[in-house]
């Protein structure tokens, strides 16, 4: 049976354990080292070498290290994964235009069909291209639509491809376990219903699948019955939309560089405009002495005009010069569009984000005080109030925020303090006899606090009520860490309350926040 197809066949290239691969590549380490990427103390990705020792995803760091003492522990950094995968995308784009990255490590292409002699051959050519970049573990799957192609790639051996013939998606998918759905809740529900394979799912009436199990399961259900091709939303390779300008002689001064880049920035915006595109995400690279000395990605809530680009370049130059990252005069500036959208999407009123007026006013303040002086507050996970928030320089993307959903043992229950000191200030807490209160190793308080001084201009205040301690061992895994602290809420007799912390390392007290 052949189903009418509007789109061609899909080829998926999969690099397993990409976060580990990317991290090792960024440090020039060999991929055979047993390594794992950890986020919030849980293994997020584990490579094959580590799996041989029994390290698994979701394992706690301590358990993983118990199984494999030489395990290389890497930090999760989604930006790095994406950046490293860009290299793969570029190499594949050179062979076959129109790649659609799904996430770092997984990319879909329209199958080249007979161009390389056949689909298996095409898979081999693409795999070879990726291996040529030094990425040994790559697998290819080819099928009628995306879901099947991804599953085929997952079942392929290293550097091989699995081709699911036309119209055979159903028979390929049926024996697979329901875990292939990659939706923990649905999978758990199916398991409890006694349905273990996708074939069992196929046996259910389609109406109930849609209403009980959600969109994705319904879609997979359609695929199992021979329908449901999903059009591939491809990313068209930018036909050199990236622009650069060379300086001869090299320029040492930020103003001069910005002035000389103005025309280039205009060309950049114009080129995109000719394709009815606007840029929302740009990578600015500044080279000194013919090597990239400063690189930064900037986001814009609307889109970049040429003036915006020059502004961002200026901030980046000023920051990099101050930090000493640019040691010699600038020889080249390169602007790379990282994210483009159709102009029409950004027509006024459709986009809920910043309106341009606000953006311009904020840019004026940034021009006055420096780009880092204006920040956007964001929330993140953590134990102390200061850890639970972050200040992101306006216009840049927040990176490596801690997840809020995790339980953070030792965090203080709400209400939240209205004032969170950027820097804790020294405080003092004494008992009725005037001796300093000390907190022991097990969170025992030497004597109840009677008076305290929260620091600043405040004098001694009698304690009317107190709560705590909330003991925390902070950052013991970091060098120089191992700080043991115990937090207290102290209410003064005049009704004000503070968050005051006993720090083991200082053997003293600091005020972290005020419940104003």
């Amino acid at each position: 049976m052949t189903t009418p197809r509007s789109t061609g066949r899909v080829l998926v290239v999969w690099c397993p354990d990409w976060p580990v691969v990317a991290a090792l590549r960024s440090r020039d380490l060999p991929s055979r080292l047993p390594s794992a990427v950890f986020a919030a103390n849980r293994a997020e990705a584990v490579n094959a070498a580590a799996r041989e020792f029994g390290v698994r995803r979701g394992m706690r760091r301590r358990d993983a290290q118990a199984r494999c003492p030489e395990l290389l522990v890497l930090d999760a950094e989604p930006d790095r994964d994406a950046r490293a995968f860009e290299e793969v995308l570029e190499a594949l784009e050179a062979l076959r235009p129109g790649v659609a990255p799904l996430r770092p490590g997984l990319v879909a292409l329209r199958s080249p069909g007979r161009f390389y002699g056949g689909e298996t051959e095409a898979g081999a050519v693409l795999a070879e291209c990726v291996v040529g970049l030094g990425i040994r573990d790559v697998r290819v799957g080819i099928a009628d639509e995306l879901f099947t192609a991804e599953q085929a790639a997952r079942s392929a051996p290293v550097q091989e491809s699995v081709v699911v013939p036309e119209g055979e998606s159903g028979s390929f998918l049926r024996p697979l376990p329901v875990e292939a759905l990659d939706e923990p809740e649905t999978v758990s529900l199916l398991r409890r219903l006694g349905l273990t394979s996708l074939g069992d799912l196929a046996g259910l009436p389609s109406a109930s699948v849609a209403s009980r199990l959600g969109q994705r399961a319904a879609w997979v259900h359609r695929v199992l019955h021979g329908g449901g091709a999903r059009p591939l939303d491809t990313r068209t390779p930018p036909p050199e939309l990236a622009v650069h300008v060379d300086f001869e002689p090299p320029l040492a001064d930020a103003e001069a560089v910005c002035f000389s880049t103005r025309r280039t920035a205009e060309r950049f915006v114009e080129q995109l405009g000719q394709r009815q595109l606007v840029c929302t995400d740009v990578l600015i690279q500044v080279s000194a002495d013919h090597v990239v000395a400063s690189e930064r990605r900037w986001l814009h809530p609307r889109w970049f005009t040429s003036a915006d680009l020059v502004d961002r370049l200026h901030w980046q130059l000023v920051g990099s010069l101050k930090a000493g990252r640019i040691g010699s005069p600038v020889t080249r500036v390169r602007l790379v569009p990282e994210g483009v959208v159709a102009e029409s999407v950004h027509a006024d009123g459709l986009w809920g984000g910043t309106d341009g007026r606000v953006e311009r006013g904020i840019a004026r303040v940034q021009g006055m005080l420096g780009p880092e002086a204006v920040v956007a507050p964001v929330l993140q996970g953590g134990r102390s109030p200061a850890e639970r928030q972050a200040m992101v320089p306006w216009g840049t993307r927040a990176t490596s925020l801690r997840p809020r959903e995790l339980p953070w043992p030792g965090s203080i229950p709400p209400p939240y303090p209205a004032r969170v000191l950027a820097k804790p200030c020294p405080a003092a807490v004494v008992d009725p006899a005037g001796r300093p209160v000390v907190v022991g190793r097990r969170g025992t308080v030497s004597s109840p606090p009677a008076r305290f001084r929260p620091g600043g201009e405040e004098g001694w205040l009698p304690v009317a009520a107190w709560a705590g301690p909330w003991p925390v061992e902070e950052l013991w895994w970091e060098p120089g860490g191992g700080r043991r602290v115990a937090r207290f809420q102290l209410v003064a007799a005049d009704g004000r309350a503070w968050l005051v912390t006993f720090d083991d390392a200082l053997a003293g007290w600091v005020t972290e926040a005020a419940y104003d």
Binding site: M391, A418, Q489
Partner: protein, 184 residues
């Protein structure tokens, strides 16, 4: 209480003024306006969010230094409400100029600290935290009296739960959430 566009509001920093300033920020923010906070390096983001401030529509300038007044003036042009903690005495002339700007731009200014000729002066009085004992429990709710003084009229006092056990603002003895919002 309703914030009036073009108005200046002075909040006494004592006894929980910072929290009250954040609560004033929440009103315009909830109806889609933008807010800016200048000179508060100790901005409690989580407390602000729990009071209803939309953090994605909030701009902070934690440490504007000498140029704080210029930063406030620039922000008044584009946002609905600016909360500022002046680093020192504010000159009458500066305040007057800014007040004119506020009126033309229809923005409100909340000063955490003395502000010359503010339209409304607010102060938190007699805060009482409940929930904490002697080494047990934790802070849960706070009972405050807020004094509101318009011009030279005698201050009006309201008892509030700020925050109540659900982190909201509630007038004592009522189920109704006390309204602090902007009329634009």
């Amino acid at each position: 209480m309703q914030l009036r566009a073009g108005g200046t509001y002075e909040v006494a920093p004592e006894y929980g003024g910072a929290g009250l300033a954040l609560a004033l920020l929440a009103g315009p923010s909830a109806v889609g306006g933008w807010g800016a906070v200048v000179g508060m390096s100790d901005f409690g983001a989580e407390a602000a969010a729990s009071l209803g401030v939309r953090l994605d529509r909030t701009v902070l300038v934690p440490d504007p230094g000498e140029l704080w007044l210029e930063a406030v003036a620039a922000l008044v042009d584009v946002v609905t409400i600016v909360v500022v903690r002046p680093p020192g005495r504010v000159g009458e002339a500066h305040a007057g100029k800014l007040a004119a700007r506020l009126r033309t731009r229809e923005a409100a200014l909340v000063s955490l600290g003395p502000w010359p000729r503010a339209d409304v002066r607010l102060a938190v009085e007699t805060p009482r935290w409940s929930g904490a004992g002697r080494g047990d429990g934790h802070l849960r709710a706070r009972h405050v009296t807020v004094a509101v003084q318009r011009g030279t009229a005698p201050p009006r006092r309201t008892d509030l739960w700020f925050p109540d056990a659900d982190l909201a603002l509630r007038a004592v003895g009522s189920e109704r959430v006390a309204e602090i919002r902007d009329v634009g």
